[in-house]
């Protein structure tokens, strides 16, 4: 009995370890920028060529910086959720148009609706690298002082809004 117990325990320990690994998505790389100041940027506004959107101009109230592009299929899937969140008035939703052709981006917004208060246009993706973006969609919750508080990788879902964004926002309002 004693001889069997050890290998059996080892087997189950390994089983539990590997089973846990099964549920994890290796594509999700946790951000190292949480609780760090958002990178400084000053980018053109997509819809008004003469205006700028900058990390400074966005300070004041918390906002959700949503990285999207017209070529990104998952962005289309999350778009209704982004729209609902923007219309709920819970938080300002700022668009970050990532490596997109401006005409395509504008056509996309005309077709699916434009929920964004501001849209920063990152043509060459250089600022996205400062944010550690490695794909679209990604969303950053940034507080009024310009500190990154949370990051969501992949499309936003109603569950993520309930479970992650709302509690984080409540936390920010409570702390402020």
């Amino acid at each position: 009995m004693g001889r069997l117990l050890l290998p059996l325990l080892a087997f189950f320990a390994l089983g539990v370890l590997l089973f846990n690994g099964l549920g994890k998505d290796p594509r999700i790389v946790p951000s190292v920028l949480i609780d760090k100041p958002a990178p400084a940027f000053d980018l053109p506004e997509l819809r008004a060529a003469d205006q700028r959107v900058s990390s400074e101009s966005l300070k004041g109230e918390p906002y959700l910086l949503n990285v999207w592009a017209s070529w990104c299929f998952a962005c289309r899937i999350e778009h209704p959720v982004i729209t609902d969140l923007a219309q709920s008035g819970l938080v300002r939703v700022v668009g970050f148009n990532y490596k997109d052709a401006p005409e395509d981006a504008k056509r996309w917004l005309a077709q699916f609706g434009d929920p964004y208060s501001d849209i920063a246009q990152d043509l060459d993706g250089r600022i996205a690298i400062e944010f550690g973006v490695y794909g679209a969609p990604e969303s950053f919750l940034i507080d009024g002082q310009g500190v990154i508080r949370h990051k969501i990788i992949g499309p936003l879902t109603p569950e993520i809004v309930e479970r992650e964004i709302k509690p984080k926002l409540a936390e920010l309002k409570g702390g402020a």
């Binding site: 290796p26 594509r27 790389v29 946790p30 951000s31 190292v32 920028l33 490596k99 060459d124 993706g125 250089r126 690298i129 400062e130 944010f131 550690g132 490695y134 794909g135």
Partner: protein, 149 residues
């Protein structure tokens, strides 16, 4: 004529993978060594040197730009680690979060070696202590060999 044809035929390949101009072969070698140690975050089993993903192309350009600014390899790695985490490094640093990653193989090797040693020595003891046939057989074999000699 043939030379021109070959140049036109193959120039496309080089440009498609990496449209970066290097000042010297040494610089190019340094760039490729560095890029080979950095992970592409889109196709995670490819290095920045190998990947054709658009993000890898952008990151290669960032690496090159930082080399042009005179940054050292550790500085460039630190820049990327600050934004993408230690995951971008194919040789992650030994720290508290990665200690398990570095130590587990040695721990498993030691454990396996210890178990194997215990099992083998237990067998030898059992053979010698409980199997009288083993002892007589060995003695007979020895006697036969001596006779043949």
């Amino acid at each position: 004529m043939n030379k021109w044809f070959a140049a036109v035929l193959f120039s496309g390949c080089a440009w498609a993978i990496d449209p970066i101009d290097f000042a010297s072969p040494a610089e190019e070698a340094r760039f490729h060594d560095l890029a080979a140690e950095l992970r592409c975050l889109v196709c995670q089993n490819e290095s920045l040197a190998d990947s054709s993903a658009p993000l890898a192309q952008d990151l290669r350009r960032v690496v090159k730009a930082q080399m042009d600014q005179g940054k050292s390899n550790p500085e460039i790695k630190a820049y990327l680690t600050e934004r993408y985490g230690a995951f971008v490094l194919y040789r992650p640093p030994f720290d508290t979060t990665n200690a398990l990653l570095w130590l587990a193989p040695f721990a498993v090797l030691l454990l396996g070696g210890w178990l194997a040693f215990r099992a083998l020595s237990a067998h030898r003891q059992i053979d010698a202590a409980t199997d009288p046939d083993a002892a007589t057989l060995a003695a007979r074999l020895r006697a036969e060999r001596d006779q043949e000699l």
